[in-house]
C-alpha cells in the first residue's frame, strides 16, 4: 500500500505539490492525468525517494520513504519506475540491461538473473532482442525493455510516467498492451498518462492533477462521464 499524506514539495520558490493526499491499495491501477507542469512526474519521483519532500509523509508498505533511517536503495527495489525519456544503458546489451540490477543489487548469480531476465523480456515481447544493444531498438522496444528491467527486480509497485509520450503513434499500442498485461496480472500501478482510452479501460481509479493539487479522483466511469471539478471538465473537453 502506498500512502501519501499531505505532501508539499517545492523547487526553490516554485511550489509544485501543494498538499497531496492519496492512498493506492495493493492490486489497484491508478491513472494520473493533468496539464503539463501540474506535478505528476514530481509526485512519482517523490514516491521512490529520488526527490526529497518539504513536508508531509509518504509511506510504502508502512515504511516512511523520507525518514532518515530508511534505506532508500533497499526500498527502491520494491518500486519499479519507467520514465517518459528512453533511458536504456547504451553500453549494455538488452539482457545485460535487465540483469544488471538483480546481479549487483540483489547479488543474484548470473544464470539465475538471466533466467529471470529472459522471462521478463519474453513477457514484454523482446525475447529475441536479448543480445542486441539498445541503440538498435525502436522507441517502443526501448520502453518495453525498461519495463522488463524494472520487473526483473520483482517490485511490488510499478510507476509509469507517460511512457508512451515520446513514441511515434504507431508504437504506442505495443507499450500500452504491455501495461494492460501487467494490470491483468494484478500489479499495483500508478500510471501518469495522456492516453485517455487507457485510463478509462484499464484503471480502477483516475486522478486529475491541477497546479500541484489533486483536484479530483474517481473510478473511470464517474470521472469521464460526470466530472465534478470545473478544471477537470475543462481539461476533458479540451481533449475530446
Amino acid at each position: 500500500m502506498i500512502e501519501i499524506k499531505d505532501v508539499y514539495k517545492s523547487f526553490g520558490a516554485l511550489e509544485v505539490l501543494k498538499g497531496i493526499n492519496l492512498t493506492v491499495d495493493k492490486g489497484e491501477v491508478l491513472s494520473v492525468i493533468g496539464g503539463s507542469g501540474s506535478g505528476k512526474s514530481t509526485l512519482l519521483t517523490c514516491i521512490n525517494g529520488l526527490e526529497p519532500i518539504n513536508s508531509g509523509k509518504i509511506l510504502v508498505d508502512g515504511t516512511e520513504v523520507h525518514a532518515k533511517s530508511t534505506d532508500l536503495n533497499k526500498l527502491r527495489r520494491k518500486i519499479g519506475i519507467v520514465f517518459q525519456q528512453f533511458n536504456a544503458f547504451p553500453h549494455l546489451t538488452v539482457l545485460e540491461n535487465v540483469t544488471l540490477a538483480p546481479r549487483k543489487v540483489l547479488g543474484m548469480g548470473k544464470p539465475e538473473a538471466e533466467e529471470i531476465a529472459v522471462k521478463q523480456l519474453e513477457a514484454v515481447g523482446l525475447g529475441e532482442k536479448a543480445g542486441v544493444y539498445p541503440g538498435r531498438l525502436s522507441g517502443g522496444q526501448q520502453q518495453r525493455m525498461s519495463i522488463a528491467r524494472a520487473l526483473a527486480m520483482s517490485p511490488s509497485y510499478m510507476l509509469f510516467d507517460e511512457v508512451t509520450s515520446a513514441l511515434d503513434p504507431q508504437l504506442v499500442g505495443e507499450v500500452l498492451d504491455t501495461l494492460k498485461m501487467l494490470a491483468d496480472k494484478g500489479m499495483t500501478m500508478i500510471c501518469v498518462t495522456h492516453e485517455m482510452s487507457f485510463a478509462r479501460d484499464v484503471s480502477d481509479r483516475v486522478a486529475f492533477f491541477h497546479k500541484g493539487i489533486m483536484a479530483e479522483i474517481a473510478p473511470p466511469d464517474q470521472f469521464f462521464n460526470a466530472p465534478q471539478h470545473p478544471e477537470t471538465q475543462a481539461f476533458l473537453s479540451n481533449i475530446r
Binding site: R76, F89, P90, H91, S146
Partner: protein, 217 residues
Amino acid sequence: MFHTSMSWADVIFLAQGAWMTILVTVISVFLGTIFGIFFGVLRYQVGPWWGAPVTFVLDIFRSIPLLIQLVLVNAFLGIVLRLQISGFTVACGVLTFYTAAYCSEIVRGGIEAVPFTTRRASRSLGLTWLQDMRYIVGPLATRVALPSWIGLALGVMKDSALVYVVQVTELLKSTQILITRLQEPLFLLTIGGLFYFVISFPIARLGGYLEKRWSND
C-alpha cells in the same frame, strides 16, 4: 645519408633518456589520472560553488608555464622546506598534478555527458551511488573522455621534455648532451624528434579512430 660519429654507447645513452621519458610519463599519467578522476568526481559531486577551491588550485597548473612550476616546486621543497627530494620525484610530482588538472576537466566533462535520465533510471533500480558510478557512469563517461585523455597523455609525454630543469636526464636532454659532445645537432635532433613522433603519432591516430567510432553509436 648521415655521417655520424655516434657510438654504440651513445645509442644506449639515448635509450636511457628515452626510458626516462617513458618512465616519467607513465608514472605521472597513471597517478595524475587517479587524482584527476578523484578531483573530477569531487567537483561534479559538490557543484561549482563548493568545488571552487579545488578548481582554483587545479587551474593554476594550467595557467603557468610548466617550466616555472618545476622550478618553483623544486625551489620550494628544497630551498624553503629543505626536504631532500630527488629531481625525479619532483618531476613526477609536478607532472602528476599537471595531468590531474587537465584530467579532472576531462572527467567532469565525461560525467556531465551522461544523461541525467540514465542515472535516474539506475538509481531507481536500487543501485547505490557507487554502483551507479561504477556500472553506468564510468563506462559511459569513459567513452566520451577517452579520446581527450589519450591526447592528454601524449601531451604529458611531450611536456616531460621540460623536466631537465630539475636535473632529470630525459630524452631531449640526452640528445642535447650528445650534441655537446658530437656536434651533430641536426642529426641528433632528428633522432630525438623521431622518437617522440613514433610513439605519439600512432596513439594519436588510435584516439582519433576511437573518437570517430564511439561518436557514431
